[in-house]
């Protein structure tokens, strides 16, 4: 159990800056998720925490102890790899026991026969055996303890990798996309297992993923990264409801937040195309000139066309996904401010509950729940507060 502090952590490879000035304060027992697209530097940051990559500048502290110049083994952190990285020539039992053997390792363990017996003695000592077997029991691996990793399924291998991390009772668990190689069903099950593992084992978790569902469901806090820079470091709820910039707004949520080009019309009103919308009290006075209105697809609803002072448009596409339907709407006289895709500039997404009977080409009006809206600067993309 330990707190984790990163101060001005930067990593450069030659002239390329992979991580730029990351500052994070992770409290004891927290489940931090590093979230971001491929190549955003989240794995590199995790490897720097583990000591597998050096820190170019900045400091990493575990509790009060500075660790960034310590070797990986001296940091008391366990690392779970995306690829599991089990020792293929060792049984499951030996894989899980291995970190404990290494704690008592002496140079003469390299002597062939002597080393074999010495390692076996540690493996069979009551305290080690009990710990390994109770860990295996927790992870439902008891029946597989004497098998080789190659005879296990992906999910079982992943649990062995977790077991190898757990027996060390480390201060910090580091996990690099540990579920990304599993199929969807198993991933959901393992996600629940990891959450309960965090609850039962305690310890500080740092978890890397590009999957926003994993991030939202598992993390006590999320650090959303882009191009080596932490965009926002907050709880899942805050990141979802109060994204700090348009990038975060578009990264989180399926479908992502709609961004619309808008103009301030006095301190309390907003104009989108020809439509004038009243701003709720918290947003009064924030907008001047051109702004970007951010609104989740769930905060939009379809009304009939007779309703005055709303956005109107034509249905472009309806996708039924069971409990709800996703509707792509082609707006009249309004443009979206999405900078992350090449799609049409006049379409937004709406989520409606149940099975929508709308067909493409239908004319509809929109009602916007402005209490859930956020405003961004049109120039910088930063949220206006």
């Amino acid at each position: 159990m330990a707190s984790l502090t990163l101060k001005g952590v930067t990593k450069t490879f030659g002239s390329f800056t992979a991580i730029r000035d990351v500052n994070l304060d992770v409290a004891d027992g927290e489940f931090l998720v590093l979230l971001g697209p491929s190549g955003c530097g989240k794995s590199t940051l995790l490897r720097m925490l583990a000591g597998l990559e050096t820190v170019t500048t900045g400091e990493i502290h575990v509790d009060a102890k500075r660790v960034d110049d310590l070797p990986p083994s001296a940091r008391d952190m366990a690392f779970v790899f995306q690829s599991y990285a089990l020792y293929p020539h060792m049984t499951v039992r030996r894989n899980i026991t291995f970190p404990l053997i290494m704690r008592q390792f002496r140079w003469w363990f390299h002597v062939p026969v002597l080393g074999y017996f010495a390692k076996r003695r540690i493996e069979r000592s009551p305290e080690v055996r009990d710990l390994v077997e109770s860990t295996a029991h927790t992870l439902a691996l008891t029946k597989m303890l004497d098998r080789l990793p190659k005879t296990l399924s992906g999910g079982q291998r992943q649990r062995v990798a977790l077991g190898r991390a757990m027996v060390r009772k480390p201060q910090v668990f580091l996990m690099d996309e540990p579920l990304s190689n599993l199929d969807a069903k198993l991933r959901t099950a393992m996600r629940a297992e990891l959450i309960s593992l965090h609850r039962n084992v305690g310890g500080t978790f740092v978890y890397v993923t590009h999957d926003q569902v994993e991030a939202m469901t598992m993390g006590t806090r999320i650090a959303l990264m882009r191009d080596g820079v932490v965009q926002q470091f907050a709880t899942a709820r805050d990141i979802y409801s109060s994204p700090i910039n348009t990038y975060v707004a578009r990264f989180i949520g399926t479908p992502p937040m709609n961004l619309l080009e808008a103009q301030a019309d006095g301190p309390t009103r907003l104009r989108i195309g020809q439509t004038i919308l009243d701003l709720p009290a918290p947003l009064h006075g924030l907008a001047t000139g051109a702004v970007t209105l951010g609104i989740r697809p769930t905060a939009l609803s379809i009304t009939d066309t007779s309703h005055p002072a709303t956005l109107t448009g034509a249905v472009a596409l309806v996708e039924h996904i069971g409990a709800e339907s996703l509707i792509a709407l082609k707006l009249d006289g309004a443009r979206n401010a999405h900078d992350d895709l090449d799609g049409p500039r006049d379409q937004i997404m709406i989520t409606v509950p149940g099975y929508s009977e709308l067909r493409s080409g239908d004319r509809v009006s929109l009602s916007l729940d402005m209490n859930e809206a956020v405003l961004f600067s049109a120039d910088t993309g930063k949220r206006l507060i």
Partner: protein, 280 residues
Amino acid sequence: MSAEDTSGQTAGPLRIATVVVVLMAALFPLYWMFVTSLTPSAALFSVPPRVVPDLTQWSVYAEAFFEIPVRVWLINSAIVAGGTTVLSLGLAIFPAYALSRFRFAGKGPFALGLFATQMLPEAMLVVPLYAIFGQLHLLNTLVGLILANTAFAVPVITWILKGAIDGVPTEIEEAARVDGCSRITIVLSIVLPLVAPSLAAAAVIAFFHGWNEYVFAQTLISDDKLRTASVGLAGFVGELSTPVHSVMAVGIIYTLPAVIFYLFVQRFIVAGMIAGSVKG
């Protein structure tokens, strides 16, 4: 994986015929040696030649052991081959690991330089080696012979092991580092077991190199007691007479330990050591 792919195929008659033909081509010289060794001198050049061994002639093997110092030669050869194997593997493991895993100045030239030693014929190096060994008092010692053979075996083995280590996923090593392994423990406890098949192949190469080597053994050793089997066997071919059946008998004896060593080691040359470690 490839082993699994081929195991499903049925052995068709053409396949079996091919295997039989190739096997016969490979084994016939051995069989001919065996038949010749058991053929009385008088019948050696009979036409047509004998194709069935004369099993009353076993005494030629007893002669080889008790009248010719074959035992001593074989022991010397075993020491040289065994020493070459152990020393070559020991010396090649670490450069192979370094070539595979580290980036350092001069890595390319170093790796190529290893090949340079393979480009020179042994015969060309005999004279300088003789001079050097003379100064170091290594002439007429099996240690000297082991060193000379090792110098030729190490580069090849280094490359074989480098290729094998390249195939070990780096995540496994990183996992070991996090688990508390030093670099040397990683090499000895994690990497070496995973490249065991290549290690076995390298051992075979080193052993056969030491076992078969002739030029150095002939030049650097002059003491009869330190003679290796390759030189001893060649010494049979006399200027005036060559006892063909004895040569063949000793030849058979000379071949057997090498075959046994190979059969022992080849059990380790199996594929799939790394399977199960990382998601394929």
